[in-house]
């Protein structure tokens, strides 16, 4: 078991998404160059990231770390081709001649992270993780070490996934900072998730548990 002392500075709950993700992303970004790189799932991640980052903007540092996690994979779209005996050949010829670069770039799984960083102008460590709830405890350990090592004063962790029945995305985010070694706060034991669950649900659980504790003092996270 690893003990990490982290302060929960701000958070974004799925219920905080005020409308369809792309519309909310458009409202927040005010920049078509950002929104063109998002779909209606990654846009939810963008909204959570930008909102959570805004919650720590007064820290005044642009070395904030940003990590995202999602099982969302939208790659592999194919162009329309006429019926033929050689569909594979027809697809290949069409892709070779006229694939759409913007549509392909939009399917890269770090699209939400990249556009959030551009929008919020954050330059700290960053990476996207493809996965679900099971990867969150190790991400928290990594985040704790990122802060302890001085790589970033604050780290934001955002999870997003497709909504029910593959609908518009849902998302959750938390902003964390390392607490002093002698900080004395309540303990939150993070269990290793079982089964297949979205990372969004794991972050929501963390937010709910943390906010139920005394949030004025750093929370000691016990990681599995």
């Amino acid at each position: 078991m690893t003990a990490v002392k982290l302060s929960l500075l701000s958070w974004f709950h799925p219920g905080d998404l005020a409308g369809p993700p792309l519309g909310e992303a458009r409202r927040l970004a005010q920049d078509r160059k950002i929104v063109r790189m998002l779909d209606d799932v990654s846009a939810a991640g963008f909204v959570a990231a930008v909102t959570t980052l805004a919650g720590v903007a007064e820290q005044g540092s642009d070395d904030v770390a940003l990590f995202t996690v999602s099982a969302w994979d939208s790659s592999g779209a194919l162009p329309d081709v006429a019926d033929s005996d050689d569909r594979q050949g027809a697809l290949a010829r069409t892709l070779a001649a006229s694939g759409n670069p913007t549509e392909w770039l939009r399917t890269l799984c770090n699209a939400a992270l990249c556009q959030s960083a551009i929008s919020a102008k954050v330059h700290g460590p960053s990476a996207h993780f493809v996965g679900g709830a099971e990867v969150v405890p190790d991400m928290l350990a990594m985040i704790g070490q990122t802060c302890v090592d001085g790589l970033a004063p604050v780290a934001v962790l955002v999870a997003f996934d497709a909504g029910p029945d593959g609908g518009p995305g849902r998302s959750a985010g938390i902003a964390l900072a390392a607490a002093a070694a002698d900080a004395d706060g309540p303990v939150l034991a993070v269990a290793r998730p079982q089964g297949e669950r979205s990372a969004v649900d794991e972050i929501v659980l963390l937010i709910d548990q943390a906010t139920a504790l005394d949030a004025d003092r750093p929370i000691l996270l016990h990681l599995p």
């Binding site: 078509r32 160059k33 063109r36 001649a97 006229s98 759409n100 670069p101 913007t102 770039l105």
Partner: protein, 113 residues
């Protein structure tokens, strides 16, 4: 196809890609400074031109495309096909909507009207 038709088709594509009001686009506008286009927008535009006007643009040519577009600028940038990075950036900055119209007209399979 005459100049007016090419411009009209181009405006339609630009309005969608650049999210601007189609009627506000003029041939004198700079793609970058006035219409806020970036490298990805130019790429999208080139692909739209390939499809819409049946222009042959091999992907290897795109790197030379900017050099070729430079021929249509009123003040020559560089000489021939070999432009430095700084000159290519200069060409990109000076590209106008009308420059693209000139390029398309020259490349139409049937020739300009």
């Amino acid at each position: 196809m005459d100049r007016g038709q090419v411009f009209a088709e181009l405006r339609q594509h630009m309005a969608i890609t650049l999210e601007v009001d189609e009627t506000s686009i003029t041939e004198d506008q700079l793609l970058v400074d006035d219409l806020d286009a970036d490298s990805i927008d130019l790429l999208q535009l080139i692909l739209a031109l390939k499809d819409q006007f049946s222009i042959s643009v091999r992907d290897g040519e795109v790197k030379l495309l900017l050099a070729e577009l430079a021929r249509f600028l009123p003040d020559q940038v560089g000489d021939g096909d070999q432009l430095s990075d700084a000159q290519l950036a200069e060409v990109t900055r000076r590209l106008k909507v009308g420059t693209i119209v000139d390029f398309v007209l020259e490349r139409l399979p049937s020739g300009p009207a």
